[in-house]
Symmetry: C2
Subunit: 455 residues, 2 copies
């Protein structure tokens, strides 16, 4: 066996040519998404009014195991993929652990995160369908950035509704999107009926993700040749993100490494679901076992403290209902700096795998997350996004446990992106001004009790 390099790069020809749909290997499938009006499973026709037809098809297909990655998408992937699987030699040395730590680094593209893997797929299908453009919302800005870049590549119009407070506080995110030619509108805006209504009702409001989703959906359905796109939660997104897990597995196999633990941060579930899909598939088919850990912020603990039930995917209640681990769509997470993890629910695939006991979950507090982020940055030379740093925290904790037990575990975690646009958070941490927030049982009970009653 050859020595394991710092970075395991696959060759271009080793890049996956198919996405993997883990639902195909699940005996008990995730529950179907429901039409919010009829409470019946959404049909392809209904869903095609909101999403591109091909994406709607992917969303509803829980039996096809593999989907060919179209050549145009593979061609774009080649600009930044295969992404490296890095052996964290320096972190191991710093921790003095017998564990072998690996991370799959998805930050090596200008969007700065894994979001691009699905953005380019969604833009491609929109272009293929002959659409003029797409609409979306963005909070933290990673998804909006990735989508802007993808639309620019396929020469599609991209309309991003950005939560007004982010629009004002994250001007650099906004500028990246504009540089890629996107039309970025602070939400609530005066462009849409729902925006005008909210502005009239709450003058001076700085917006919310729920409101931005509502505006983006309205903009999609009221403009000829537009559809709405979303960067997480959906099963189609996890399908596209399976490229992360497939590459990770291929890189490990190349060097004969068997992962013991696989760790990922979990907000809506797009990264975690993508990373673990092929490994969960092996578990489901009885071929291997892995200790898979979803890491969520203590301030927004949908898996560890939520309920498994049908809920709205958006605060505006315009999207289909999904059965998922949720804190209730009315739950308002604290201003945790990991904006990408501030989501009340969890992908229905991840939720079902968790419910079946195939993966476990843990939650961590934000100051301990930044402590891990800083240690990681200093030795590994990558400034991690706060979201990704949730996985780093748990990987470090597990490696420290290995030091105590002497186990040479192979720990693999997903490093979803970089923290270049999160330096306000780092500054707070550096200045000792960062706090932690954990919702009380009463708060959670309140938002959970307001959920729709669907059986």
């Amino acid at each position: 066996m050859s020595e394991i390099p710092y970075k395991i790069y696959l060759e271009e020809k080793e890049m996956p040519d198919r996405w993997y749909n883990v639902r195909a290997d699940m005996k008990k499938k995730p529950a179907p998404i429901l039409n919010p009006g009829t409470l019946k499973p959404v049909t392809l026709e209904e869903l095609s009014g909101i999403f591109c037809e091909e994406l709607a098809r992917q969303e509803l297909d829980d039996t096809t195991a593999y989907f060919d990655i179209p050549e145009e998408i593979r061609s774009f992937y080649k600009m930044y993929r295969p992404s490296p699987l890095v052996r964290a030699y320096c972190l191991e040395k710093k921790l003095d652990t017998p564990a072998h730590i690996y991370y799959k680094f998805e930050g090596n593209n200008t969007s700065g995160s894994h979001k691009l893997n699905s953005a380019i797929a969604q833009a491609y299908y929109a272009k293929k369908q002959g659409l003029k453009g797409v609409t979306t919302e963005t909070g933290a800005g990673q998804w909006g950035t990735a989508l802007s870049m993808a639309c620019s590549y396929f020469d599609l119009d991209c309309q991003v509704y950005m939560v007004k407070v982010s629009y004002e506080q994250k001007p650099f995110r906004r500028e990246v999107m504009r540089t890629y030619g996107a039309n970025v509108t602070p939400s609530p805006s005066m462009n849409t009926e729902v925006g005008r209504k909210i502005n009239a009702e709450f003058p001076g409001t700085t917006g919310s993700l729920g409101c931005a989703i509502s505006e983006a959906v309205e903009a999609a359905v009221t403009q000829e040749g537009y559809r709405y796109v979303l960067g997480s939660v959906l099963s189609q997104v996890l399908l596209h993100q399976s490229v992360i897990g497939l590459e990770t597995k291929a890189a490990l196999d190349k060097y004969g490494i068997k992962a013991d633990m696989i760790i990922g941060c979990a907000g809506g579930g797009s990264n975690l679901g993508g990373l673990i899909s092929p490994f969960a598939g092996e578990i489901l088919r009885g071929e291997a076992s892995y200790d898979i850990i979803a890491v969520e912020p203590a301030s927004c603990p949908s898996l560890t403290r939520g309920v498994y039930a049908y809920d709205f995917c958006d605060t505006g209640k315009v999207c289909p209902l999904a059965k998922m681990y949720t804190l209730g769509s009315g739950f308002i997470p604290s201003a945790n700096h990991a904006g990408g993890l501030r989501y009340h629910g969890m992908s229905s695939i991840v939720s079902e795998l968790y419910d079946q006991g195939l993966i476990r979950a843990t939650s961590v507090e934000q100051t301990s997350v930044f402590e891990a982020a800083e240690m990681f940055a200093r030795v590994e030379g990558i400034l991690p996004a706060p979201e990704s740093s949730h996985a780093i925290r748990v990987a470090i904790d597990e490696a420290i446990k290995c030091k105590k037990t002497g186990e040479e575990k192979n720990i693999v975690f997903g490093l979803t992106g970089t923290g270049y646009f999160d330096l306000v958070a780092y500054q707070k941490y550096n200045d000792g001004e960062m706090g932690d927030y954990i919702p009380t049982d009463e708060e959670l009970q309140k938002s959970i009790s307001q959920m729709p009653k669907v059986e």
Copy 2:
């Protein structure tokens, strides 16, 4: 011949194990640097009071062709090197050019630029000499960021004097440095004699690079166990940066590609000098010919409009004198957004190669640079630093010429870093508020006439 991939990655074992010192192959060497007091060539002993001894030795050695890269530095390099040589297929398609465009991408590390190649070397030698720490100045912040990261890796104290206006206007750069544990002081400060003097003389001043250098040098020579380090201009820096050119050449050779043109942006010359060194060596040894182009900003045109003479390297006039193409150390460049190129002089190696006619130079205006940057970002998916975008501009122009002539030239350029911290500049460009500035002949004459008279 196999098909050329989007990214040519060398394997770790193909990473250079020696730096190349192009001076060894120059029959006419760059003129020696002079002691500013005696105007005699600086001795190793004198230089060792400011720089680490090994670095002083490298600075003065113009005959040794190769220096082994110490194992500790190679080990660090492996975290982000070999860096990819990317075939810009998408840009070629966009330009509809028969030219083949390649870029060596040095932005794949958290410091975001090529500066890390020398920062880690300088930190290593400081550590090896048993020093407590190093001092430096930073303007735009790329060098300070890289050095902070390098010092953090070797557990060295890092004191950065950051021009006060940058300290205030680029708080995120400052936070990255702090995250890596550096001590960042706005300059002029009250820490040093020169700082206190300037503060007393010019209350409320926002500082200058010259002042920050003076403070950093004073801090180095007045603290036990400290030395001063610099990120460009010096021959030692070009030596370390030769790793860029050596890898570029190895990647081209791997696929049997012969470069026709090599293009790099030029501020102090660290990136350009590193990129072209092995190619210039081939020219000097009569083994090959290349069309090498240095690209500088029209607002700070040291090669294209400066004089070739001895000048101070710093505005504070505390460093040795170097013979170089210069606009005079008193020249104050306009507030061009490519902060890393706002330097009055040019590396003595690059200057001498230029004077011997081995390379040519051109200057470009900043709005045309940002136009090229935006086009590049949209198709190639990397948001380039304004500095790097000078090379992109000329690469695009040359590829367009090839379209007219039908020539299938192989154009190689250096993409030194990313523009994540330059979004204020992108915003100005997006808003149509960016201007151009070209100094008048009178302005240049004035600063050039104030230069020291040294023969």
